[in-house]
Amino acid sequence: MDGIQLEILWSNLISIVSEQAKALQRIAFSPIVREAGDLASGLFDARGRMVAQANTGTPGHINSLASAGLTLAKLFEGKLGPGDIVITNDPWMSAGHFFDITVLCPIFWHTQLIGFIGSTIHHTDIGGYGIGAGARDIHEEGLWIPPSKLYEAGEPNALLHDFIRHNVRTPDHVFGDLAAQVSSGRAGGERLIALCQREGLQNIEHLSDEIIARSENATRQAIRALPAGTWHGESRFDVPGGSIIELKAAVTIDNVAGDITIDFAGSSGASPLGINVVMNYTHAYSTFAIRSCLNPELPNNHGSLAPIKVTAPKGSIVNAAYPSPLNARHVVGMFVPMPILKALHQVIPDRVLAEGSGAVWTVQIQGKRATGDAFTSSMFNYSGGMGARLTKPGPSATCYPTGVAAVPVEILEAAMPIVFDRRALRPGSGGKGRSRGGDGQIIEFHMHTQYPWLLNAVPSRLDRGPEGLDGGEPGASGRFLVNGKPFSEARKITMEPGDVVLLETPGGGGYGAA
């Protein structure tokens, strides 16, 4: 296939899934999907290999969808017919906690299975404990949907629908979002068939081989340009409740085969809190870290991910085993790139960045309005500073590795009786250095209420700030204060009407001695 024909077909595949991701993001009820783009959409060949993926979404979803497609295609091999649709929220098969539901729509053309359109989105509710890290085991965290058929020959699986309806708090939202996933999958399938018709293709097997082979070769070529060896990096941070987590990564570059292996041996063991990370999610953030430094311009697919291998000791915090709780796995997952970047710093210092605040801080509030009506806010989040780069400062109030937007103060104030006293940059919190780390921010609020209220806040890095690189100074650690007193609590806190909450998110690490 020449570079012109391949470009046309390949860009069409990417545009099919990007369109479906846009449709999903627009329809979704889940606020985090709409505002933060917390979703992934991918196109798979008949063997379940991801061929194209939407240019949106978060790393945790994007790359874990790739392995979900492979697993589900294998599991249902020979068992699918036209009109069937597969669903699961199994954390080990897809994105690491129950909230993320993956829906895979097989595409049949002339009775032949030619591929799948899959999507993962973060749903508003999945029953159980709800948002936060407080469940004691995975069963407290909600409904576990094993791989099953949501639709069979075009008909909804009534029993499964009923199961879901009885086990979530907001069935309208969950089914609204599932309907969006199903309709975007079907629409994507129609677009793929139209493409095949227009371009005279019987199926996409040859095309997918070509895309995967070229992507894999290009990634291996990029790795071959690096020096061989093993480099080490580690990152140490504290999580809600005060426990310290250590992640150690050994990054081995084989510049003959052109592959990279990341081993997390020596990292912390499982946590009793719901912050444990399944292998899929660790793999997703590891490959993200490597690819964004190595060859970010290359589209993500089975081939471009293939040369990167990730291993971690079974039962460690980055390879969680049943029945560890997983709900708030992003709290640790978003730190997964940090030790890898530190190792890569020794190889490609101009393409990495220093440690940043890591996970976004999330907050959720429950209480009563002046009328006595109860409310539960949606989850809202704040970033700290990003780490500095070799020749550029780290951006302030911006998150890495995710890049989620924050909900505006005015939207929150309109939705519940909250009053923000301050939302400002935290001057001087970015680590000093030749390039400075980005500043964190200061958020101060109280509730305009006469009733007690519940605060569910998930801060991190309260113990020490993100480290600098190459002699750069660390960023300031975060501070979480209630009525002026430091606080660290992993579970929901009961608050009094006049209480004032102050969040100071961490600054990013500096780069190079000042």
Partner: protein, 688 residues
């Protein structure tokens, strides 16, 4: 005989159109004079009046102006010293942005510096709550002291954007009143009047942009009015807005932020006018120029309106990399592919076109100004679609060997010959446009299939049929006077002003007296603006609308009501209209979820426009002036080449054919036929 005049100042050209009440058009194109935009304005006007043989005092209809002055001021950052005044605790609002990192995979990402730096941002101790109540009133002494600081720092213009100021303008108005007294001559922009919508960052950004550009725009518009009056032009100038509205120069001078991208908006209005004339309910306007292409969806004979957009995107046209604006605007997509876009081979061996552009300097290889890389225009020339001796009517000779050499070098890297490579560039461009249009349509809940295209801009007609084939368009339409279509669009549009105000609340608990107060205030503002533009109260119609969503959602759906929603105080009617609109866009309605209103909208519109007769003479069918081989379709034989001006109404041209105009070329592929209709549109359809 009545004459109306339109002047559209774009980045490269200033277009002038004079229309008489018989419908006759006189047009001119002159280079934009960036050092003094009015110089080009009046040169173009002079030329057009000369051609028509009339004097300035004969322009007794409207004078409408669209200009790029505001966009230029922003992109070049050449505004005067501007300050931002915010609520205590929120002075970093422009630096914190949405917090969003718009490009996930680039750890070396950068963000544009805030338009107003931190040391010119001032916090004041006041607070309005979400329900509009005043928690802390403004302290007059604090503002008087601030006035001194502003003067000492040489501040010329100030934006005032206070938390929840959209809900209750009282504190912003008090600040403004004190500053007017204590610092006379200071330009002031209040968020409660520039962009009274919820969400503090986009509102602050919009107000800051308004404040930054007012000191440039206001004197410019004043000078324009003075010079027109000196020439004895009877009426005051009207200004085109990005919403597709037209308003008096004084109102526009207070809200320059509403003038951004008004030229392209006028192009979409022209497309809308053609949709009406051709009896088409929907179409996609497709304007492809030198560096970018712009597209706009027209649904139900109205362009889609966006409630926000971005200016000055600093990263590959990437959403999120520009400054947000929340004002009503015609919803356009900008695609980073135009005639000057450079074709290259990436490290996977794939042919890529854009987003890098050769611009006008050095320009495509065929311009002979030192450009070595092959561009879209070079491919068009090498394929035989363009005539090297007839570009811009022969005023600019193109170097075909240079174009071919550049494309051959690219072909060597791809392993393809000249024809394959050039055809590849042509195909990839069409795919890029089609993909962008599809994604845009999907994002708006619109089915793109079958949408007719209306093509204009220098490169649009060359590529439109290829794009139309990919979008399964039922027809591709090439309007007459395509090179001055935006200026034409300003002359077929009524005077109009669009307003939005946020007042969030549950629909089933609406406070109708609050709604009444809000809509009455908006009506007064609108009537005043239209009166200034010469529309008497009896000629003005009101169109009410609202932005609604299901409780818990973050994006709103905009709906229009067919009457004043206060009549009967019927929240059920509003809910029914919202649910129907939601169903049409998303295909499902969640049951049991309450509906929330976020903002009210009001459009005030002056009387309709009589355009007159634009008939093209029927008569003898024009003959081809030549034939030439086209490398895109070797098997179809040489294409007939026509001069567009020789075509008569009713004439049918069979593809493959090339129809040349001075500023552009229509490419009609094999298997397509084109018909010239009675108003001069060339309408191409695929043979069935």
């Amino acid at each position: 005989m009545t004459y109306s005049l339109a002047v559209d100042i774009g980045g490269t050209f200033t277009d002038v159109v004079l229309r008489s009440s018989t419908g006759a058009l006189t047009t001119d194109k002159t280079l934009t004079t960036h050092h003094d935009l009015l110089e080009g304005f009046f040169r173009g006007v002079d030329q057009v009046l000369g051609k028509a043989g009339i004097a300035p005092r004969d322009i007794d209809g409207v004078v409408v102006h669209a200009t790029t002055i505001v966009t230029n001021a922003l992109i070049e950052r050449k505004g005067l010293t501007t300050a931002l005044i915010t609520t205590k605790g929120f002075g970093d609002v422009l630096s914190i942005r949405h917090e969003h990192r718009y490009e996930m995979y680039d750890p070396q990402i950068e963000f544009a510096e805030p338009l107003i730096p931190r040391d010119l941002t001032f916090e004041i101790d006041e607070r309005i709550l979400a329900d509009g109540s005043v928690l802390r009133a403004v302290d007059a002494a604090e503002i008087e002291a601030l006035a001194k600081v502003l003067q000492a720092k040489g501040v010329v213009s100030a934006a005032i954007c206070l938390i929840n100021g959209f809900r209750n303008p009282a504190n912003e108005q008090v600040v403004a009143a004190i500053l007017r007294k204590a610092a006379p001559g200071l330009y002031l922009s209040l968020s409660s009047s520039v962009a009274p919508q919820i969400r503090e960052y986009p509102r602050a950004s919009t107000t800051a942009i308004n404040a930054y550009t007012t000191p440039i725009t206001e004197p410019y518009l004043r000078a324009l009015a003075v010079r027109l009056a000196k020439l004895d032009v009877p009426n005051k100038p009207l200004i085109m807005l990005s919403s597709g509205g037209i308003i008096g120069a004084e109102v526009a001078g207070r809200f320059p932020v509403r003038m951004i991208e008004s030229g392209p908006a006028a192009g979409a209005l022209a497309a809308t006018w053609y949709a009406e004339r051709l009896g088409l309910d929907r179409l996609l306007s497709f304007d492809m120029g030198g560096t970018t292409a712009k597209a706009c969806l027209i649904e139900d004979r109205k362009p889609l309106i966006a409630s926000s957009f971005e200016v000055d995107r600093i990263y590959r046209f990437r959403e999120g990399s520009g400054m947000p604006l929340t004002i009503p605007s015609i919803d356009m997509i900008e695609i980073g592919a135009g005639g000057g876009s450079i074709a290259s081979v990436d490290n996977l061996g794939l042919l890529k076109v854009g987003p890098r552009s050769a611009g006008s300097q050095p320009g495509p290889a065929c311009y002979g100004q030192g450009g070595m890389e092959p561009t879209v225009t070079d491919a068009d020339l090498a394929l035989g679609l363009l005539d090297a001796d007839n570009f811009l009517g022969g005023d600019m000779r193109l170097d075909r060997p240079a174009a071919e050499a550049a494309i051959r070098r690219l072909g060597d890297a791809l392993g393809t010959d000249l024809a394959q490579t050039a055809a590849g560039i042509y195909r990839v461009v069409a795919e890029t446009m089609a993909a962008a249009a599809r994604t845009h349509a999907t994002d708006r809940g619109v089915d793109h299939r079958g949408l007719p295209l209306l093509a204009f801009g220098g490169a649009g007609p060359v590529h439109a049929c290829a794009v139309g084939a990919l979008l399964e368009s039922t027809a591709v339409i090439f309007p007459p006077n395509a090179s001055v279509l935006s200026a034409f669009g300003t002359l077929v549009t009524s005077v109009r002003f669009d307003m939005v105000r946020s007042a969030p609340g549950k629909l089933d608990a609406l406070d109708w007296s609050d709604v009444d107060r809000l809509l009455t205030g908006m009506t007064e503002e609108g009537m005043e603006a239209l009166a200034e533009a010469g529309c008497g109260p009896k000629t003005v119609s009101l169109i009410f609308g609202a932005d609604l969503r299901y409780l818990g959602q973050q994006n709103e759906v905009t709906v229009t009501f067919d009457r004043d929603p206060r009549a009967g105080r019927d929240a059920g009617m509003i809910k029914r209209i919202f649910e129907a609109a939601y169903l049409a866009q998303y295909g499902v309605n969640p049951s049991h979820v309450p509906v929330e209103i976020v903002s009210w909208r009001l459009t005030v519109r002056g009387p309709g426009i009589a355009v007159g007769n634009l008939e093209t003479p029927s008569g003898r069918w024009g003959e081809p002036k030549a034939t030439r081989p086209i490398l895109l379709w070797p098997e179809a034989g040489p294409a007939s080449v026509y001069d567009r001006s020789s075509l008569a109404a009713g004439q049918v041209v069979a593809g493959p054919a090339i129809i040349e105009e001075r500023e552009t070329t229509i490419v009609l592929p094999p298997e397509w036929d084109a018909t010239v209709n009675s108003i001069g549109c060339v309408i191409a359809k695929r043979r069935v």
